[in-house]
Every structure is written in C-alpha cells, then in structure tokens.
C-alpha cells in the first residue's frame, strides 16, 4: 500500500469482521520509532490461525484464495527494520477477556518506510461503515496527543447515529484541528 493508513483500514476491518464491539487504533512515535497497535475485543484466533494469518494464502474470504491485509502490514513493518507481532485470546479460552492485539513497529527514518497517509480518512471510513461499533484512536508524538473515542461521542449524541452527515463532519474537523495542533507543536520543538 502506498500509505500505512490503508493497511490500518484493512486490518481494522478484520477486527470488525471478528465481531469486535470496540477496536483501538494506537500510534505512538518515539524518535524514529513508530509503533502501531490495533487492539480489538473480537472473537480472537487460535494459535494455529494466528500463525496462518501472516501467510498470504490464508483468508477468511470465500470469494478468493488470497488474503493480503496482514501479510502486507507485516512486510511494510519489516522492510523498515521493524517487528510484527500478533497476540490473540479466543472467546472459548476466555469468555470474559478475548480479542486480538496486532503490534507493528516501523523505523520512520528508513528509506523504505511507507508514509502514514491520511489516518483521519481511515477513521471516518471505519465509522461510516460501522456506526454500531466503537473505535478508539490515539496518536502520540512528543508528548502531544490526537485522540478520538466514539464511546464518549455516543454518550453525548444519544440516539443520533455516528455516521450521520453532521457528526461525520464534526469528527473530521475535530481530528484535523488536533492534527494541526500536533504539527504546530512539532514546529516549536524543532525551534528549541
């Protein structure tokens, strides 16, 4: 993928498909190290399935025999010298606390690092497509944070669906404002 945000979208869709009521997308930047975590409370995967999802010939789709969401994210991470890991607990093993935790690290100064791209667009696409699910987003850099929690929005909105035109517009604008503030903070820390 030309942008990591598209990889994120692809993998977060897997969480939705796994029945997750809440999917967290966490980005943490420390110097040249970017850590991406996608954490869901879906049905989880057995050890065998965890091993096989990094295999490009494994897919839950029936329409084609190849699934590249996870393999491409793994590749994007490893080609910068980063690591890729999946941990999962199945609902059968632990009915109280189950789900999947995908962690990918990237060295952002590596020439083969794929730019992050438009994460706001990814979040809006997820919310638009799955207004009944919750998404938590948190992007940290230099002590500054961009965040979104649809559970908080839902409380305020009550019966207004998250994917209604006005709400989507507000979420997009709010994330953009937060990202503007983050870039400004970057500028200041650069001047010091």
């Amino acid at each position: 993928m030309k942008e990591l945000s598209l990889n994120i979208l692809d993998v977060a869709e897997n969480s939705v498909k796994a029945g997750a009521s809440c999917t967290q997308i966490l980005l943490t930047e420390e110097g040249n190290l970017l850590t991406l975590e996608i954490v869901d409370n879906g049905c989880g995967m057995s050890e065998e399935v965890v091993r096989s999802v990094v295999d490009p010939f494994y897919t839950t789709r029936t329409t084609r025999k190849v699934g590249l969401g996870v393999p491409l994210l793994k590749l994007a991470s490893e080609q910068t010298g980063g690591n890729f890991q999946i941990e999962s607990v199945t609902e059968q093993d632990n009915p109280e606390e189950h789900g999947t935790h995908v962690t990918a690290t990237f060295y952002t100064d590596h020439i083969d690092f794929t730019p992050l791209g438009d994460v706001t667009e990814t979040l809006l696409t997820l919310i638009q497509g799955h207004p009944d699910r919750d998404f938590v987003f948190c992007h940290q850099r230099n002590g500054h944070v961009v965040e979104l929690d649809t559970r908080e929005l839902r409380e305020v909105l009550e019966d207004v669906p998250l994917n209604s035109y006005d709400v989507m517009g507000w979420i997009g604008g709010n994330l953009e404002e937060q990202y503007d503030a983050l870039s400004q903070a970057d500028g200041h820390s650069g001047e010091e």
């Binding site: 993928m1 030309k2 598209l6 490009p56 010939f57 190849v66 590249l68 491409l72 590749l75």
Partner: protein, 95 residues
C-alpha cells in the same frame, strides 16, 4: 527457476515492486518483473493471474519461495539484468 505451469503464454509485461499496486494493475498473462522476493509475491502473482514472475537484477530466490511457487502453480524465473533490459528482451520475444 520453477515452472509448475510451464505452458502459460506471455502477452505483455508489467514492472512493479509495490505489491498492493501490482495486485490491481498487472494483467492476466503478463510477465511480471520485480525485485521483491518474499512469499507475498507468489500471492500477488496468483491473484493477478500473471503468466510468470521474473526476479530481475539477480535477486536471490529462497527455497521457501520456490516451494510456495510450486505449490501454488506460479511460474518464477530469475535474470541478472535489470527490469528495463528484461522487458526489452521479452518485447523482442513476444512481438
């Protein structure tokens, strides 16, 4: 070289290394020239139904890659020349 499906014809050439990009653009029966050599290449070739994958610039073919290619009926070859020269050679052969 591994040609598990050696009767395939080549009707054109596609060159690219960004797998997700190639996936949507390489045409059926193209020879696909790339310098990427991880197992995802086989998946993309299988998905796009290219006639073969050609690893340019003498990129190493791991045993794992060859084995997967054979299992998935994907033809894979290796050449020491860069992609452009390889495409020129193919152009002469198929015209």
């Amino acid at each position: 070289m591994a040609l598990p499906d050696g009767s395939r014809e080549i009707n054109g050439v596609y060159i690219g290394d960004l797998l997700s990009w190639v996936m949507g653009r390489a045409q059926m029966d193209n020879a696909w020239i790339t310098i990427m050599s991880n197992v995802n290449v086989i998946a993309v070739a299988s998905l796009a139904d290219t006639s073969c994958v050609i690893l340019a610039e003498g990129v190493e073919m791991t045993e794992d890659l060859v084995q997967t290619a054979c299992e998935k009926d994907v033809n894979i070859l290796r050449i020491s020349q860069p992609a452009y020269e390889t495409a020129l050679l193919l152009s002469q052969l198929i015209s």
